[in-house]
Amino acid sequence: MADILRYGAYLPKHRTPLGELQSFYGRPGRPRARTLATPGLDEDTFTMAYEAATEALAGARAPAALISVTMSAPFGLRKMSATLARALGLAEDTVAYDLGGHPGSLMDALALAAALATGDRPVAVVASDHLVSYEERVCDTLSAGGAAAFVIGASGGFATLGPASRASSEVYDVWRLGTEPEPRYRLEVLFDAYASAAKGALAGLEKLTERPASAYASVAPSQPHPQTLRSLGKLGVSSEQLASTSFVGEIGNLGAASVGVAMAIALDAAEPGQQVLAFGYGAGEGIAQALEVTAAPPAIGAVGRIAGESIPLGTYYRWTRGRQAEPH
C-alpha cells in the first residue's frame, strides 16, 4: 500500500466554443462538449506538466523519482521526465521515468510509484496531454489539454492507494501507426470497449474490496467522450457520484490527464472515511482502483478551474491552423 501525499492539476485558461467550431467545419449534430480546454500558443504537455507538478510538490519532501505520463510529448527521443525534473529543480539523484502508451497510463504510473516509494522519499507522478486532431475531426475527438500530478509516499498521506483491478481486451478504438501524426479513431468501438473494460474492472474491484461501485463517495473516471460515462451508469454508478468529476461535456477530452484531473476534483471534495473510485481507461484496458481517504485532503480547488475564458474562433484557428495538436 502507498499513500497520496499531495496533488495538483492544471487546465489552460482558454476555452474554444465547440459549437462555433462545428459550425465552422459544417459538422452536423449537437456538440458533444460545450468547449475545449485549449492550451495557449506558448503551452504544451511539458509546460502543463510543470504547472501541475509545481502545485503538487509545493511543500512536499524531495521525491526520489518522477514518472511522467503523456501520449503527446513535445519532443521525441528524449525523456520528458528528465527535463521536467530539472525544470522543477529536483535533486540530481531523482530518477526520471517516462511512461506513455494510452490514456489510462496514469493508473500504471500510480502502481509503479507505490512500488518505488519506500523510506522517506516519495515519488512524483505527472500526467499531461494534448491530443492530436485535425480540423473537423476535433469535433469528434474533443481534443483538449490538461495535466494532473500526484506525490505518492510509503505512508503519511491523506489517502491510501487501495486495491486495483484490471480488465483488458484487444480492440482498435484509438490507435496510431508508427510515426503518423494523427491518431485513428473509431468512436463506436471506443464506447463499446470502454463499457466492457469498465464492467470487467469494476467487477474485479468489487470482488477484491467487497464494495460495489455504487458505494463509493465519488467516481473519478477517464472520460474521452460523454457517451462513455453513460456506460458507468449501467454499472451502478449514479449521477451523483459523477456530478462534480464529470467534465468532458464541459471542456473536452484531456487524454492521459483525464483520470488525474477527475481524481483531483474527487479528492478535493472527499472527507476522511470516504472512498473514491478511480477508473482509468485506454486501448481496451480498464484499471479501477479504490482510494481510501483517511484525512482531510489538501484541497486545490480543481473544480473551479473547469470554467475558463472563451477565445474567439479566429484565435483558435490562428493558434492551431486547424491542427489541434502537440505542439501547435
Partner: protein, 138 residues
C-alpha cells in the same frame, strides 16, 4: 531569432530555472546574463542564486508587432519585473489582458515555450502570470 541545437544545449538547462547572479564582492544580485562581471562593482566573482519566482511589475509595454518567435501571441505584455530579491528582469506576462496589468501588479514565474530553434528544438524559459496572492517569502 533562431537558436541552433548546440546553442540550445548551452543555454537551455539554466533557463528551466529562474536564477540571478550574486556578486561575491559587493553582494549585488545581477540579472542572470551577467556572468562575466558585476554591473555594480565590476567584480568578476559571481555565482548562481535561484529566485523564489515572485515579484512586482515596475514597468511594462504591450507589443503589437512581435518578432517571428512570438507571432500569434500579440498583443502581449512584456514587463520589467523587480523580483522580491531585488533584481530586475525582463519577461513576458502572459494569460492576462493588457488592460489588466499596471505598475505594481504582483506576478509569479512560470515555465512556457519561448521559441523554436531552426533545428527543431524547443526553448523553454520563464514567463510570468499575474498573481495578487504571490507575496514575498518571509
Amino acid at each position: 531569432m533562431t537558436v541552433s541545437a548546440i546553442e540550445f544545449s548551452r543555454l537551455g538547462p539554466p533557463k528551466l530555472r529562474l536564477y540571478a547572479m550574486r556578486c561575491s564582492g559587493c553582494n549585488t544580485l545581477n540579472p542572470w546574463w551577467e556572468k562575466f562581471h558585476c554591473y555594480a562593482c565590476g567584480g568578476e566573482q559571481l555565482t548562481h542564486e535561484e529566485l523564489a519566482g515572485t515579484g512586482e511589475l515596475t514597468n511594462y509595454t504591450v507589443v503589437y508587432y512581435p518578432p517571428r518567435d512570438f507571432l500569434g501571441q500579440e498583443p502581449y505584455v512584456v514587463g520589467h519585473i523587480t523580483m522580491d530579491e531585488g533584481v530586475l528582469l525582463p519577461a513576458p506576462v502572459v494569460d492576462t489582458a493588457p488592460e489588466d496589468v499596471a505598475i505594481g501588479t504582483r506576478v509569479k514565474a512560470t515555465l512556457r515555450r519561448m521559441k523554436l530553434g531552426h533545428e527543431g528544438d524547443i526553448y523553454y524559459s520563464q514567463k510570468f502570470v499575474v498573481d495578487p496572492s504571490a507575496q514575498p517569502a518571509g
